[in-house]
Amino acid sequence: MLHVFTVLLAMLFALPLVAEAQKPIKVGMPMPLSGPPALFGEPASKGAQMFVEEINAKGGVLGRKLELLVRDSKADANEAVRVARELILKENVDFLVGTLTSAEGPAVSVVAKENKIVFIAPIPKTDQLTAADKLHPYVFRVAATTTMEGRSAAEIVAKWPVTQVATISFDYAYGQDVTKAFVEHLKKIKPSVQIVDQQWPKLGEQDYNPFINAQMAKKPEAIFSSIWGGFFVTYSKQAKALGVFDAIKYNFIGVGEAATPETTKSMGADYPVGIWGNSYDAFYWGETPAHRDYTTRLSKYLKDEYPSSWAIQGYIGMQFLTEAIKKAGSTDSDKVSKALLGLTVETPIGPLTIREKDHQANRGQLYGKTVKDAKYPFAIMKPVTYVDPSKFMD
């Protein structure tokens, strides 16, 4: 009788522990889901969701299921802060993985710091997110940085037979930082280059005609653009109609992922085929078995023959989080934060490591010149190369 009672008593004490173990690990994901930025934000959230479903099917992390709470941040820093605080205070999320723009990232980083919540940024690129004066134990980034992107682009442009270069970027942290990195590096490796014009439309601009005219008046031979997402669709349509690409003989590089399959697909015949661009992923890259496997799974999950290139960043963000939780053996913020330092993860695009110095992963991107390929109803990059960013990271 006594041991029955003891067992019952033990079960009584074990019950809350069991209940604790069943509680899901909540991850908050502020991400733009409406408007032009949604072209990138929506698939990024889908990539994270796919990873969560895959890992939950395998039993979760530390015996607990992952729960992803996605909220529309409208690509606005103010809204992202509000949404992040609600996720923390109301939904009691354990971690934050999200934000897209370089305005949202640093703003949410502040919230993460004050609430001691580990925040992994999968997309914002501005150097300011992990700069020395803004770095804190709880912010990490698995996206590329503006330094990496600007310098990679400069290396490509330096090989073109041009010296008069113009830039057009949004007038906020991302546009400013990536253009600065591009210009500085380009001038270093090709001193003969002259920056003849720089245009700074506001983020969210719909009418680029005045900027394009002002730029073309300076007769550039090449253009560097960091206009991104749905905004690039609008910009390039207007630029094409004004004869920009013909005038510069397609010596155009669009960082900010102007050559993603999403963009070329949504533009169809309007896309200025022949420009250079970059992308975080491309379903047609397929250089490793791991990537091909991921692409197949993604294609099935999204029910899309030509799956999005943005899903991978949400996917990688969640990968790093779960690997760190496993390594730390806990969901405690400080332990997970320590576990992330120096952590290497096998992502679909290859192994990535978050370095201790600035919590930054060596996330390079795919660069290439767009061409029309008979296999697909839209332009792709060919040849497409993964540019290793290590030599660009200070």
């Binding site: 889901l33 409406s34 408007g35 032009p36 949604a38 072209l39 929506e42 529309d72 245009q199 700074w200 506001k202 719909q206 009418d207 005609n209 005045p210 900027f211 005219n213 002002a214 073309m216 008046a217 749905g230 905004f231 669709v233 609008t234 349509k237 207007q238 109609a241 004004l242 004869g243 005038a247 949504s266 533009m267 169809g268 015949a269 309007d270």
Partner: protein, 294 residues
């Protein structure tokens, strides 16, 4: 010093933007002139016009003449929407305070813009330029897209047509009379109610047409309504509330200030536009071509 072909190109891009704004703002000005109400929902009509045009293009498929059909259909659809709104809801507010009418149009805007999100989702939509006007040509050293030129010519045409209707037709006389003194007009036996509905429908048609015609050039996306309504306010204020040619002039001025502002004081072009609006209100509140209303 920038050369002549560039100045020409820049002024043309300013004119293109201006003509779109004129289309939209003329509807706003008309509603204010006759119904004495500032219609906050006008921006949402513009946005719905763009979405309807996109939808019509999906149904009709690509091909010659399709875009024009879609644009016209969209504009008519918005006119119908305006008519229904006016008849069923708005006319019950005519006796009430102006503030309530304003609040109603604002609330209507909220409802309609979310309705657009429900039907068409939150991602931006893209429409191609109509194949008849898809290419560009060269003039004075500047590259001009054909579609842009079409818009630049359409603006004054609509202004002239409008002017003709207002000045030379019976309906136009009634509209002008209603703007001056609705009570007397009613006393003279004119069906003022039907006139109001007609004016609202015409204004909505113009707003919807503006949205439909702008869709090949810009993105059709949530948020385009709040952006355009403020621009429309600036235009009608500068030109003069209720004045047709004032709206036209205001639109032209707005377009050029923005265009050349980007060239000469890029950081302050947005500021310049609103500073101009404030200056007009301070110095000549009824606008460049308006008449002081009591």
């Amino acid at each position: 010093m920038p050369d002549a072909s560039f100045v020409f190109a820049q002024s043309l891009s300013g004119l293109t933007a201006a003509m779109f704004l004129f289309l939209i703002a003329s509807g706003l000005s008309l509603i204010f002139g006759v119904l004495r109400v500032l219609n906050f929902a006008h921006g949402t009509f513009y946005m719905l016009g763009a979405y309807l045009a996109y939808q019509a293009m999906l149904w009709l498929g690509p091909g010659p003449g399709r875009f024009w059909l879609a644009a016209l259909g969209a504009a008519l659809g918005i006119a119908l929407l305006g008519g229904v709104v006016e008849r069923v809801l708005f006319r019950h507010l005519y006796g009430k305070e102006e503030l309530y009418q304003l609040l109603f149009t604002y609330a209507l805007g909220l409802i309609l813009s979310d309705a657009a999100k429900i039907f068409w989702g939150t991602q931006q939509k893209s429409v191609s330029r109509p194949p008849e006007l898809a290419s560009s040509f060269s003039l004075f050293g500047a590259t001009i897209p054909q579609y842009n030129l079409f818009i630049i010519l359409l603006g004054p045409s609509i202004a002239l047509a409008f002017w003709f209707v207002l000045q030379r037709t019976r309906a136009g006389r009634f509209i002008r009379a209603a703007a001056l003194d609705r009570e007397t007009l009613g006393a003279l036996g004119v069906n003022v109610g039907a006139l109001y509905t007609g004016v609202f429908m015409l204004a909505s048609f113009l707003g919807g047409l503006g949205g439909a015609l702008i869709s090949p050039m810009r993105a059709t996306t949530p948020g385009m309504d709040t952006e355009v309504i403020v621009e429309a306010f600036v235009v009608v204020v500068i030109g003069g509330l209720g004045s047709l040619w004032g709206t036209f002039l205001g639109a032209v001025v707005y377009g050029q200030v923005l265009s050349f502002g980007i060239l000469f004081f890029p950081r302050f072009s947005i500021f310049a536009v609103f500073a101009l609006m404030a200056a007009v209100l301070i110095i000549r509140p009824w606008g460049l071509l308006g008449r002081p209303i009591r």
